[in-house]
Symmetry: C2
Subunit: 370 residues, 2 copies
């Protein structure tokens, strides 16, 4: 998994060439140490590059085709318009009831968790501390797919702010539905784009998993934010960002290269107001968020030659009110997958990043999108 050459060049230019020294930085949100090492960007590889970019052709949205099929869909993409019968059941679509839909939320045909299972009778983490704690529970939960566009060759970064806002509002809708059930503890929204980012399907989509437990990274993130809030009385995501890590600011959101980014060219899109839960978002903010999100994806795509990437929404557990989480602040994290990780990261949970965030932010600010 070698980085695409433009990424290496950027890393070399931004990190290795800037005369910076090795440094460890601890992230206040995830509470983890990251090693910044410009020298790492220059190491050679004797493996052939297995180009991690997507196999889809460039955007050729075919507006003249009223049937909604695209220029070159693979013969059997179940996410394309007209192939709805090849999918697991639909949950809802926008516009509701329209055969010319813009977006569909469907069940995942190969779900990680099953809505048909029995929900856990009581909180598995609470059943007596230590040995009493439950270590096996049935695989109850929800696993949905959001088909972001009817057209096979359209990427998320091709969509307008309003179109992207609809995707974000579909997430919100699903949050509200799952929250109402009372037995889902956390909802993980994520997107895989490109095979090296884990995607098995190339048609633009994201996923929503509703879990009966609070996942480990969420607990440790909240603990870490609480500790740093307790120490300073300030939220690490509200602070006045230093100019050199800001990439862009819109009316309601800031996009930054986080000061202790685990991955080269990692971006966080953070609401400027201190808000604990993603699903409080309204339409006006969703349009603003949609605009800054696709702007960031376009900048990454231009700078790094359409890299595979993941994004994740980091929100707060359901059933915990904002007032009980004074330190919590939701955000979206974008990780371009340029080089993969190795045994060091798997073993220690520390990351090695050859590109300083200040250098990544500068390069991303300077991208010419015209």
């Amino acid at each position: 998994m070698s980085p695409p050459s433009s990424a290496t060049a950027a890393a070399g230019g931004g990190g290795g060439g800037s005369g910076r020294r090795c440094e460890l930085r601890k992230d206040a949100v995830f509470g983890r140490w990251v090693i910044f090492s410009p020298a790492r960007a220059r190491r050679p590889s004797d493996f052939k590059s297995s180009a991690p970019v997507t196999t889809t052709s460039p955007n050729t949205r075919n507006a003249s085709n009223g049937g909604g099929s695209t220029a070159h869909p693979p013969p059997s993409c179940p996410f394309c318009i007209g192939r709805e019968h090849d999918c697991a059941p639909e949950i809802f679509r926008f516009p509701a009831g329209a055969s010319e839909w813009r977006l569909r939320v469907i069940e995942n045909l190969y779900p990680a968790l099953r809505r048909e299972e029995e929900p856990p009778a009581s909180d598995p983490e609470d059943e007596g501390r230590g040995g009493g704690e439950k270590r096996f529970i049935q695989g109850y939960g929800f696993h949905d797919v959001v088909i972001e566009t009817p057209y096979h060759d359209v990427h998320l970064s091709d969509l307008s702010s309003t179109e992207t806002a609809e995707i974000l509002l579909a997430y919100k809708e699903r949050f509200l539905q799952l929250a109402a059930l009372g037995n889902i503890k956390y909802i993980q929204v994520f997107k895989n784009h490109g095979a090296s980012a884990g995607a098995s399907m190339s048609h633009s989509h994201s996923q929503i998993i509703g879990l009966p437990v609070v996942p480990p990274t969420v607990s440790s993130r909240l603990r870490s934010m609480m500790e740093s809030y307790g120490g300073t009385g300030k939220c690490g995501l509200c602070e006045a960002w230093s100019e050199d890590i800001i990439i862009h600011q819109s009316q309601y959101f800031s996009s930054i290269a986080p000061v202790a980014a685990s991955y080269p060219f990692e971006i966080w899109v953070v609401p400027r107001d201190h808000l604990s839960h993603f699903h409080e978002i309204d339409r006006e903010k969703a349009v603003d968020f949609g605009g800054i999100l696709t702007e960031m994806l376009r900048r990454l795509s231009q700078q790094l030659n359409d890299p595979p990437f993941n994004f994740m929404i980091h929100t707060s557990p359901l059933g915990l009110a904002a007032t009980s989480l004074p330190y919590a602040h939701w955000f979206l994290q974008i990780i371009p997958q340029l080089s993969g990780v190795g045994g060091f990261e798997l073993g220690s949970g520390c990351y090695i990043n050859p590109v300083f965030p200040e250098d990544a932010a500068k390069l991303l600010r300077e991208v010419n999108l015209s």
Copy 2:
């Protein structure tokens, strides 16, 4: 990153075909939830498979070649015997001083951390809790490469127990050297085999990183082991393993498919005695450990068609005596890299594993190595 076909077959046969149901299991060592979902093994992909196996040819160790070069080394592999001048400085070799060396420990030419930096004056985690905690420190530390064999086409799994024991004793030697400095908090030993496991060099090697901080996964592992020990008074790695997850037992070690494995075909090699620190190992145990380790690598290679893999030694921080860590038990974790992870794992820290450990253990026990 599609799994090699034999892995898919194994997953389908072992997980999907066994009529098992979706289940969540919490691992007592890492304290994290894993989702077991046999259905996931059957999902299709419209990305072409980017075969993640190594590019090196099969073992062609050329015993007749006294010069020590191999059948087809790439023209410029600095880890091959005779190319010592292309490497960063040597720390030691076995046998000491021999030009016909069997193993070399060298400095990493592109180090993540630098031995020349100033060590942190005080413990960065201790500088007053909360806001006072240090978040930026200089990149002091050690980053070594262990060249496991002089020959380019020899894999670790080709080595004898005694040869492998030398590698383990080289790790130990380096542990003792770094521990003596007094300012290294934790040592992460790891191996990357194959490009999809992160390796940039194909010549068999592993790495040793000495860190000035205790990494996050280590702290949370120790916390989780302490909690489960406190609850039951028993160490989760000493318990009598259930037959169905044991793969092999030697005089001093057990190899198991851990009951809440995060990855398909993940293996742990665990000392049968309750020991907190890897570097207490002696030569007799190292030979036994070397035997079971290479045995496991051969079984994985046979079952999954030479998959890329990582291994990591999970030990205890330096400078903490075993008596202050009654719950700690070191082990080695082997992760075959069959499918990569996606946004769900990156965001939540939960893993989705389509193969139940009981099924993986059965398949690995049944491998015919003759």
